[in-house]
Symmetry: D2
Subunit: 146 residues, 4 copies
């Protein structure tokens, strides 16, 4: 019942391990409606790993994605600063990119951290959270206005 | 109780009118929790206008944004092809950009149509739905896979 | 492009017409992922009718239900007081009951109004919005606390 | 970084400890928009504890509740059968009841398990997940139909 911590420093992030963890996390996916398992692996600033999977619902809008599962797990354990998240699906021909709602969740915790969108062969594309939501609706906008 | 149709052809879209409609739509916003009214105005391919506003909820995740309100209105009246959507807030210093979840809703209906992010002075930035979600998780990916 | 208004007064609500409208609204459903069309028909306090359908998304959590589509349409046109909503699916053996998220959306606008859960043969069960969410998390709780 | 397991069997669930855990979990809440921390504590069938808190977003609909945070944590660690969940807020005068969307998430994993809605003084009301969503839209309905 304990999370495994990948040995790493922030200057030496083992990307391949992170991506592998995201693919392993697909095994937990609860996706009876889409049959489309998604996994995610999130590394906090202090090097703690949290994995996530999609958790669907008969009422589709109540479903949750793998990336947000990983984020809320980490936040609920006291983390709000992140290094990187890896995303995995079974699509051979497309890198696993987060949906817009997940991108919105990512930038809530900063724009300048890394998103690894992978394929089952562990190849990947890397972009920052901010690059994935150009002109993003960031928390400062709402807070500055109120 | 009827929607007003702006006179236009797809080659002659009156952008200023569209943006004005999005600002007028803020008046309907139900936002007792954020006090942050948002308006949207959507033009379908055949030139029909639908406006939307944010509709919040005491349970924040059950809230809905202005852009998605406009989209579901249009879809529920039989439209699935869109020319453009304008988005409006009261922020003087930031263009009103859609949240990630709304961007995801926009690309469900195509990547190559226009999003006008405006300020109260009616100045705006224009990007396509697809540009707002680079490497977006588009419907073809899910459908091709299944 | 205009909504049709059913002739009625609040003392003489034609329930069968409302339920029929909810079944007709299924025709607009955008549900390529579930193939489960849902329709809704909402009557405001002043007798205006709004219909809704489910509008799904490749990213399932970004989908929206028929009931909420109808509600946000009405709110975005200036209505916040409702008499009744009818819900329709193609299930022969079950009354079409709203998901929990929709029930939460309904009680945002009052607990004491009617929800008609129907079958394709137009038979129905009626409950109030409040009865569908016993001990519901209503707006007054959040507002009183803040 | 490991979850603590409360010593218990399913016949001897220590409710007071569970409710205390739900109140402690409020400390992790990320709620800069509502300033309304919510905590949850979930016990799986095999006696493992997962806590959750609300995780809000500048785009309100992208927020997530404490109860669903706890559920997706458990599912992503391989659990799909639950004994009970406790919910906690700082409201002195109201028992902390789940929103409709969370109730929908609860019944995805069964209707016959316990929800403890508490106050800061640890007093509570107990209802089952199914009782909280009468005539609920349960997974069997969608699956049987498709
Ligand atoms: Zn997502
Ligand atoms: Zn939005
Ligand atoms: Zn619903
Ligand atoms: Zn909730």
């Amino acid at each position: 019942k304990s999370y495994k911590v990948i040995e790493m420093t922030s200057n030496c992030l083992d990307i391949e391990s992170l991506i592998k963890k995201s693919h392993e996390a697909k095994a937990m996916a609860y996706c009876p409606y889409s049959n489309f398992p998604v996994g995610a692996a999130l590394i906090t600033k202090d090097g703690t790993l949290y994995t996530g999977c999609n958790v669907e619902n008969a009422a589709y809008p109540v479903s949750l994605c793998a990336e947000r599962t990983a984020i809320v797990k980490a936040v609920s354990e006291g983390h709000r600063e992140f290094q990187a998240i890896a995303v995995a699906t079974n699509m051979q021909d497309n890198f696993a990119s987060p949906c817009g709602a997940c991108r919105q969740c990512l930038i809530e915790f900063g724009s300048d951290w890394d998103v690894y969108m992978s394929k089952p062969d562990l190849s990947y594309k890397k972009m920052t959270a901010g690059e994935l939501l150009p002109l993003g609706f960031t928390p400062d906008k709402l807070i500055n206005f109120q």
